[in-house]
């Protein structure tokens, strides 16, 4: 399977995402000015400060030609993962509900955070599930770094209720870990169809024991399973 990783002027974590994706499949960078997604099976909109994050994080990047292609790709059911700034871009592009606002602590914050997998049965989280037959009912936890200044997830109460009812909240900050003030501790949400997912923490920075944890790899692994399952 092949990942396409978008690259905007001001992307910072695109190479990290590329390297992470290459641990489970092929991966290639796609320049923001291109409309051709080069046959990618899944798209990663990476972290960083696209267009310097000026105005609002992600506001300008969403209009890049490559994003038009990504919107079409998503509408046709393709898997799209937005990480950090990528999550912001997907919200700005209305591929995901809600918005990301400045952290409640008003500072850029880098912290290893504990996440709870609220839905271990989706296209983006299936590899997080506990082995079948395990008695443990508590949510699976992932240790993944987060680093951002605009990470406070916000949506209207009604929208939040809907998201929860429909199982679109895939990741939550574990108790005590929600430093940015996200409503209902939401760390990652997907769209109604389940093929577009955005999260603030950085799974691509948790793919190697040498540099921290390997928990983030499971997100990429889940996407591979989904794509390859679909191909079977």
């Amino acid at each position: 399977m092949k990942f396409g990783v978008l690259q905007f002027p001001g992307s910072c974590d695109e190479v990290d995402a590329l390297l992470a994706a290459r641990r489970v499949g092929e991966a290639e960078l796609i320049w923001h000015g291109e409309r051709d997604l080069r046959g990618a099976d899944a798209i990663v909109v990476p972290g960083g400060f696209s267009y310097g994050d000026y105005l609002r994080a992600g506001a300008i990047a969403r209009f890049a030609p490559a994003m038009e292609a990504v919107i079409e790709f998503a509408e046709s059911g393709g898997l799209v993962l937005g990480i950090c700034n990528g999550f912001q871009v997907l919200c700005e592009a209305r591929l995901l509900p809600g918005a990301l606002l400045p952290n409640a602590n008003l500072r850029f914050t880098f912290r290893q955070v504990e996440l709870e997998v609220a839905r271990p049965d989706t296209s983006f989280t299936s590899a997080c599930a506990r082995a079948a037959g395990t008695a443990d009912e508590t949510p699976v936890r992932l240790s993944i770094p987060a680093k951002h200044s605009w990470g406070r997830y916000h949506a209207e109460e009604r929208t939040l209720d809907e998201l929860e009812e429909r199982g679109q909240v895939l990741l939550r900050y574990a108790p005590g870990q929600n430093f940015n003030g996200s409503l209902r501790d939401i760390a990652g949400v997907c769209n109604a169809r389940g093929n577009v997912f955005g999260l603030m923490p950085h799974p691509e920075h948790a793919v190697d024991a040498l540099t921290g944890s390997t928990d983030g790899l499971r997100i990429f692994e889940s996407m591979r399973l989904t794509v390859e399952g679909a191909h079977v």
Binding site: D13, F49, F110, H205, D208
Partner: protein, 770 residues
């Protein structure tokens, strides 16, 4: 092409509509001395015009010409087996194996940060990053070295807050991790904060590029941001005079744009990768003036520049303003006429401005045109090489320069109280509230983040790793500039040893007061002597650095602060050491403790500071070779991979180091230190409170717990692995990793502090970042 312009040639004032020509008085205002002005007139064959005087005044400033430090800098060791590029280029570089070199340098942005801490610190990071990619290396890490007055002062807190946010803003946005740094709070920095930033970069050895302009007829391309009035009369002039209270003199603040720099960085590296540039140079202090003159000087050529071709942000800049503007995020390169189109196309791809603004000539002169009009004409050698260098007149002060610090801890505090006060001291408390504002992991290379180990560790492609540390305890340098500076270098090397790295090279930033004063000249001379000796002994030559002088105001000079940054290498990234105790039941060893050394001294220690003791006149001597041998033993042991932790003993001494080892992973320790009192000179052990002071007789010998001196480490691991160090250095097994408290038994008493108590104290800085 170049007839002499009327303005430069004729006696001042003969050209009809020109503004009145500058005079000696103007030269003095710009910071030149009368004698320097005379010399400029002689070099020019007459009084310089406005453009020329502006350019001379910058290039002949302390900041650019190193008038008071160059002679000293020449005494530093700059060569060694790993050195690929020494001082003189935008950054130095060392070979790190696998065909790669590591470029690195530290630079100060002290005065701009004192004016506007956020932008000052941000543009400081921007500037040092440009120095790294100017030699062709991709920046891979930033470290910061900060000094402020005591955080009880609102202004110090404002400066701290702004500087940290500014560093984070720039580094985070451009995608370079900030992996380490240091911060100290001391009263002498109240009026003059220090903001130094160090950056590292990586590049294939053959892609290193120099800044010497070459090839007569080649073109000069200015690319990046457009030019505005930023910092006119800024850093260069500012950095050469004491910062008074005169708020009106504040120059236009330079604003940094990391997004622009990100594009500039990618554009520069792609230009190099495609072989399109002959020479590359960043624009820093003194802007175009300095870059063009340096490039011409290094290449032994002349340069013609047309300021009318420089893309401007504001329409009405005068030629001299264009030449001295310090607008950020700009680079200058030399390209062949054939490649010009490709170069400009690449600029367009990366959405950065680019314009051919000049040519390389054989004249050896710098000609500044405004369209057709020649508005400045100077010999390059006069601009760059002929500024007079001054001899210092060092004299050791007979009186103490610095008042004693304000006491915050009673003399009769118990050892437990002292330990908690030290952990909560702004100089020792956890730096987490600062470094959490920095992205330490972007680029996926960071093997050790802040507080995981004594040095930051960055993986290299071949499974080895770089390690880097930056350090300087200004209070100890103030007590003894020579030994204090050696200690700073040894401390860096100790940090590297703790992760298993051996030093490859060193950079430094000499932050001092006014060198024209004999006692500052003495501090500077002694510090450079110590730095040179230490780097020779460590075989870690100086490959670059920076000097920031005149850091003083009405309240006196800063502590002398020769910030040392050191880069090392370890063969196996996976075995990089960690600082915290990691396994219940591990033995704890004190390594490098010297029983022959006599009484450990509390002089100039953090405890002495808290107790308000005056700085001593001199630090106790130590054996540099012995310290280095201990470092080698620790390094070797860490590399074997059997140790659980390695931490060097620094500020706060042994007890604080123990607490830090416990706090890292929340593991307690039981320690017994009586062995340390059995030394031959044990009778000399005792409180070294100055005679006459109130002697409270604490039951535990405070010096054993809290004295500071180089060469000691705390290791944990299997007992056998620790004892294996014994042939190379002294090893004292002092305890075991266990429980949820730190218990230290000494002289019949036991100090007990729960981990919760220690952690609470250690969190003290959090209050500064509500």
């Amino acid at each position: 092409m170049s007839e002499r312009p009327a303005t430069a040639d004729a006696p001042a004032g003969t050209e009809g509509e020109a503004e009145p020509p500058p005079t000696l008085a103007d030269a003095l205002t710009l910071g030149l001395t009368g004698a320097e002005y005379e010399l400029i007139c002689a070099k020019q064959g007459g009084p310089p015009n406005q453009v020329e005087l502006a350019m001379y005044s910058l290039l002949w400033s302390e900041h650019c010409a190193y008038k008071h430090s160059k002679k000293l800098l020449r005494t530093l060791p700059t060569e060694g087996p790993h050195v690929v590029m020494g001082p003189g280029e935008n950054a130095g570089a060392v070979d790190v194996g696998g065909g790669l070199v590591c470029a690195f340098k530290v630079e100060s942005h002290n005065h701009p940060s004192a004016v506007e801490p956020f932008q000052g610190a941000a543009t400081g990071v921007g500037g040092i990053l440009r120095d790294i990619f100017a030699i062709g290396a991709r920046p891979i890490a930033v470290l910061d070295s900060l000094r402020f007055g005591e955080p009880s002062g609102t202004r110090s807190r404002y400066l701290l807050d702004g500087a940290v946010a500014g560093i984070g803003h720039y580094g985070n946005s451009i995608g370079v991790p900030t992996v380490g740094g240091e911060v100290y709070f001391e009263a002498p920095y109240e009026q003059n904060c220090l903001v130094n930033a160090m950056a590292l970069g990586l590049c294939p050895r053959e892609r290193l590029v120099r800044s010497a302009a070459a090839g007569v007829g080649n073109l000069l391309v200015l690319f990046g941001a457009s030019t505005g009035r930023d910092g006119i009369g800024g850093a260069s002039v500012l950095a050469s005079a004491e910062l008074g209270d005169d708020e009106d003199k504040r120059p236009t603040v330079q604003v940094g744009d990391p997004f622009e720099e990100k594009k500039l960085l990618e554009c520069s590296l792609e230009l190099l990768q495609r072989g399109l540039v002959v020479a590359l140079q960043d624009l820093g202090a003194a802007g175009l003036t300095s870059s063009a003159a340096e490039m011409a000087s290094k290449g032994g050529v002349g340069i013609d520049i047309d300021v009318a071709k420089v893309p401007l942000r504001e329409p009405d800049l005068e030629p001299f303003e264009v030449m001295v503007s310090e607008s950020q995020e700009r680079m200058l390169c030399v390209v062949t006429p054939r490649d010009l189109e490709q170069v400009l196309d690449l600029c367009e791809k990366w959405e950065v401005g680019g314009a051919a603004i000049g040519t390389v000539t054989e004249t050896g002169r710098l000609h500044v045109y405004d369209g057709e009009r020649l508005v400045g004409d100077m010999p390059v050698s006069a601009l760059v090489d002929d500024c007079p260098l001054y001899d210092l007149a060092p004299a050791k002060p007979s009186e103490p320069i610095y008042p004693p610090p304000a006491a915050t801890l009673a003399m009769d505090a118990t050892p437990l109280q002292a330990l908690l006060a030290l952990l909560a001291s702004p100089n020792i408390a956890s730096r987490r509230p600062l470094f959490e504002q920095y992205d330490a992991i972007v680029q996926s290379r960071t093997v050790r983040r802040p507080e995981q180990a004594d040095a930051a560790v960055l993986a290299l492609p071949d499974s080895s790793a770089l390690a880097v540390s930056i350090d300087c305890n200004g209070r100890r340098v103030a007590a003894d500039p020579y030994r204090g500076t050696i200690e700073a270098a040894l401390e860096c090397a100790a940090n590297l040893a703790c992760v298993g790295a051996e030093p490859l090279g060193t950079t430094n930033n000499l932050n001092f007061g006014n060198p024209e004063k004999p006692h500052i000249a003495w501090q500077l001379t002694e510090a450079v002597r110590g730095l040179g000796e230490a780097c020779r002994a460590l075989e870690a030559p100086i490959v670059g650095g920076n000097v920031s002088l005149y850091n003083e105001g009405a309240a006196g000079p800063i502590y002398p602060t020769p910030v040392v940054g050191m880069v090392g290498r370890l063969p196996d990234a996976a075995r990089a050491g960690r600082l915290g105790f990691a396994r219940e039941g591990n033995a704890i060893a004190l390594v490098g403790w010297d029983p022959q050394r006599g009484a450990p001294s509390l002089a100039a220690s953090e405890l002495a500071k808290l107790r308000g003791e005056p700085l001593p006149d001199g630090l106790p001597p130590f054996d540099v070779q012995r310290v280095i041998a201990t470092q080698e033993a620790v390094r070797a042991a860490v590399r074997v991979g059997e140790l659980s932790s390695a931490h060097d003993i620094a500020e706060g001494g042994l007890a604080v180091a123990l607490a830090e080892c416990c706090l890292a992973n929340g593991l307690g320790a039981r320690v017994e230190l009586d062995a340390l009192t059995r030394a031959p000179s044990a009778d000399a052990l005792g409180d070294d409170t100055p005679a006459g002071a109130d002697r409270p007789n604490p039951s535990l010998p405070l010096p054993i717990l809290f004295a500071e001196y180089p060469g000691r480490f705390l290791l944990s691991g299997p007992r056998a692995a620790l004892e294996a160090l014994a042939p190379q250095t002294s090893v004292e097994i002092v305890g075991v990793v266990t429980g949820a408290a730190l218990e230290i038994a000494l002289a019949g008493e036991t100090l007990v502090a729960t981990l919760a108590e220690l952690a609470e104290a250690h969190r003290a800085l959090a209050a500064l970042f509500p």
